[in-house]
């Protein structure tokens, strides 16, 4: 990146404006917490409930990361490096789990076993939900390692397990650690599963405080602890990602390693993966379909249609707004270095650390002060835009970085000014990536629960809200049609992105959820 290039004024102004907008939720929470005074804030911090919530949240995050790593790494190794029967099928099954929101699989397990609740249940559900992140990261790094490396190591006398420990693991470690930090971030932000399972992590406690009291300042203080935890993870992940990229060497075409013959044990391996697939996908689908059939006669089609329309309209406006916000920041990140770019990156990382429940809390409090915005669709769309800003910026940055600067130079030398160049060169080349990014943000927004729950206009019941409401009052059958539609909508792109024949970057896969 050339250092001396000045950032155009319009870009500077719009980037700063977006950063200002994106900082509103966090800024408002900070103001609320400060306004409550030091004594009040420390009283909230030192409450026994706060301490136990901290232990629950951190404990859950660590345990889920552990199990998710075990499932993800073992699945990746079996799929990529052994003669497992039909590895392609297991890859698709392993990644399709991404399409099932945690609150949907929780709903399914509760519908199956009504006593399903508590900490262990949350570890179970969240480990299954997040394992695909580790699977994809481990798979990508296994594929990146050239077979000649392993062959040279074997030739110099190392056993297969020594190769795994001394050649493969050191190269996969950065990517896997980065994915585990994402997993922990997911656990911190998750609201649906822990709430349905009645596990008091910070997200549930913040929501309860918001519902039960009008003391928004105390809720703000607790929400800020959550933000701090998430910010620590984001920071570590950001640093780890830097070293993960550095660890990649510039290999040309990569020859993949020969698969290990498991012999008879390959059926054991297949059964293991099948059990995981049944727990993460099979049970939800079975429950959804049987419950759907059982209530098929009494389905209120007009409610279903209106919920779908509500979901699509909220997600569509949120995703459009997110992309609009992301344009100046994405261009800045892809094309310019310097102080403003670093501020922008920092700001984006910070929004990434804001769980939906936190943004919901901040905006609901702010909205109640600005009456015209309270429980309005624009405010809900705005919350989505802030929530998914990091993802939107990521897709725009990647797409624009795909257009080498030399194209701009040549276009200019051929008589086109800056704007003509953007119109004729940058946009056409970047468009497919930007559109994919938009669709991913759209789909993620459709699954969003906590911010929607807190900010939706009265009577504005999306699919996610319907599933939540019906499950909360044990109307499992009633929830099924909504959950089925949501899963079907979310599964299509997940399937397309996970197909082994598609040379999709792991980044676009990682963009899928969170």
């Amino acid at each position: 990146m050339a250092g001396g290039i000045a950032v155009p004024r319009m870009l500077q102004i719009s980037a700063l404006f977006v950063l200002f907008l994106a900082s509103i939720p966090l800024g408002y929470l900070l103001l609320r917490a400060i306004a409550s005074g030091f004594a009040a804030a420390s009283a909230v911090l030192l409450r026994e409930k706060t301490v136990s919530t901290l232990i629950t949240t951190v404990g859950l995050a660590i345990l889920v990361a552990l199990f998710s790593a075990m499932i993800g790494i073992s699945s990746a190794w079996l799929i990529q490096r052994t003669n497992l029967p039909s590895p392609g099928l297991f890859l698709v099954l392993g990644t399709l789990a991404l399409a099932v929101p945690s609150y949907v699989s929780t709903y399914a397990w509760i519908a199956l076993i009504p006593s399903f609740a508590g900490f262990a249940a949350a570890v179970f559900i969240l480990s299954l939900t997040t394992a695909p992140y580790v699977l994809l990261a481990a798979l990508a790094s296994l594929r990146r390692i050239d077979a000649t490396q392993e062959e040279s190591a074997r030739a110099s006398g190392l056993t297969a397990s020594q190769v795994a420990r001394r050649v493969i693991w050191p190269q996969s470690r950065p990517a896997i650690f980065a994915s585990l930090l994402l997993v922990m971030l997911y656990v911190l932000s998750d609201f649906g599963a822990v709430s349905l399972l009645r596990v008091d992590t910070f997200t549930r406690v913040v929501h309860t405080m918001y519902k039960a009291t009008f003391d928004r300042s105390a809720a703000a203080v607790v929400a800020l602890i959550l933000v701090l935890l998430a910010a620590i993870l984001i920071y570590v992940e950001y640093k780890a990602r830097g070293s993960a990229v550095a660890a990649k060497s510039g290999l040309g075409s990569i020859r993949s390693a020969t698969r290990i013959d498991l012999g008879f044990k390959k059926y054991l391996a297949a059964s293991y993966l099948l059990i995981i697939a049944i727990a993460s996908l099979g049970v939800p689908i079975y429950v959804l379909i049987t419950r759907f059939v059982s209530v098929a006669a009494e389905i209120n089609v007009s409610n279903l249609v209106s919920a779908t329309i509500a979901t699509v309209s909220a997600a569509l406006s949120g995703a459009l707004l997110a992309m609009l916000f992301a344009i100046p920041l994405g261009i800045l990140a892809a094309r310019y270095s310097g102080r403003l770019s670093r501020y922008a990156e920092f700001g984006i990382l910070l929004t990434h650390a804001l769980p939906g429940v936190v943004i919901g809390l901040a905006l609901v409090a702010l909205g109640s002060r600005l009456g015209f915005l309270y429980q309005s669709l624009p405010l809900l769309a705005f919350s989505y835009a802030v929530l998914f800003l990091a993802k939107a910026v990521g897709s725009i940055r990647t797409s624009i970085a795909r257009v080498p600067r030399v194209y701009d130079d040549i276009s200019r030398s051929l008589g086109n000014n800056n704007w003509q160049t953007i119109r004729k060169i940058t946009i056409p080349i970047a468009a497919p990536g930007v559109i994919t990014g938009f669709l991913l943000v759209l789909l993620t927004a459709m699954k969003e629960l906590p911010a929607t729950l807190m900010l939706r206009p009265t009577g504005f019941d999306t699919l996610a809200i319907e599933i939540w409401t019906q499950t909360s009052i044990s109307q499992y059958g009633q929830a099924a049609p909504y959950a089925l539609i949501l899963v079907l909508v979310a599964a299509t792109p997940t399937y397309l992105l996970s197909r082994p024949d598609r040379a999709q970057s792991s980044e676009s896969r990682e963009n899928m959820t969170l």
């Binding site: 030399v406 200019r412 000014n417």
Partner: protein, 338 residues
């Protein structure tokens, strides 16, 4: 028909000068090459001429038109320069014909201009192909046609052949240079390949550390280098320690003679083909210690009283390792004080 004149051009990057008071004058219609090692500022020079970067000081003129002074920098789209980047950089979303037409503003003649250029580069049949369906050489041709289409005043080529394999490179280079000379387009090509710089150019500019250190015809820069460093940049050389006296006589291992007073130490610059090897031992005694046989010519490595001397010979290889021979200097004397 436009000449290109650059005076005192300084370009800084992170407060360090990349181009330092650089001067260069290319007459109208000439094909000039800038030869220099990587990192000497060649590409920066092209980018400043094209207007992609703003110089710190100095002027750039296209004919009478001042396109860059410190206060006024004409943007690239108003300079009428053609720019061919390394590996072509064709727009991936446009066909061959659309790429060529990209810079043509007049709607009426567009098709005509594209067709004519397609014939010129011999790719009429590939007009509707996308760039990723073309070979490297075809991409370079299209990039050239695209740059030529708006009839630029000055054509800038940034190592356009470096990504191509050797055989294709020679042919395409000849083709491109004759095409540009035919159209009388003032051309500046930068390269780090010394053969490439000499073979196609009317004018060669040698660049070092952000400055042009010598300009001249290929023959001039090869045979009359202004310094030993410049001599090395245009071809193989022997640098022999030598002494010069107040009468101008020079003593070296190849030109042994008795010197008068007032001796200055320096270097004698000799090209490897400027030494004759006499099988009969006439001249300075030497022993053949190694042979590099290239087919069209060969390099004989000799030891003359402890000095290593390489000689390029053409024709039959008449020597073998261990032969005692005589060496005779047959070229011009180029001497530089230390």
């Amino acid at each position: 028909m436009t000449s290109l004149r650059i005076d005192g051009l300084t370009v800084t990057y992170a407060n360090r000068p990349v181009l330092n008071e650089l001067n260069l004058h290319i007459p109208s219609g000439a094909f000039a090459t800038v030869l220099g090692p990587s990192g000497c500022g060649k590409t920066t020079l092209l980018r400043a001429i094209a207007g992609f970067i703003s110089p710190f000081s100095g002027t750039i003129r296209f004919g009478d038109q001042l396109v860059s002074v410190s206060s006024i920098v004409v943007p690239p789209e108003r300079r009428k320069v053609g720019y061919v980047a390394q590996e072509g950089a064709l727009f991936p979303h446009l066909t061959v014909a659309q790429n060529i037409a990209f810079g043509v503003s007049s709607k009426g003649d567009k098709q005509e201009i594209v067709d004519e250029l397609l014939v010129l580069i011999g790719l009429s049949k590939l007009a509707n192909r996308l760039p990723n369906e073309l070979s490297g050489g075809q991409q370079t041709r299209v990039a050239l046609a695209r740059a030529l289409a708006p009839e630029p005043k000055v054509m800038l080529l940034d190592e356009p052949f470096s990504a191509l394999d050797a055989a294709l490179r020679d042919d395409l280079r000849a083709e491109v240079s004759s095409l540009l000379k035919l159209r009388d387009t003032t051309t500046l090509m930068v390269t780090h390949d010394r053969e490439e710089a000499l073979v196609v150019a009317d004018l060669v500019a040698l660049m070092r550390h952000g400055q042009i250190v010598q300009t001249g015809s290929p023959v001039e820069v090869y045979h009359q280098p202004v310094s030993p460093e410049v001599a090395i940049s245009t071809g193989d050389v022997l640098l022999l320690d030598s002494q010069k006296d107040d009468l101008g006589k020079i003593n070296s291992i190849l030109t042994p003679q008795l010197l008068n007073k007032e001796i200055i130490a320096g270097k004698l610059v000799i090209r490897p083909e400027e030494i004759r090897i006499n099988s009969d031992g006439l001249g300075v005694k030497a022993t053949v210690i190694d042979l590099d046989y290239y087919g069209h010519d060969a390099v004989v490595h000799l030891d003359a009283g402890g000095s290593k001397i390489n000689v390029r010979i053409s024709g039959d290889l008449k020597f073998k390792v261990g032969d005692q021979v005589g060496l005779e200097h047959i070229g011009p004397i180029r001497w530089f004080p230390n």
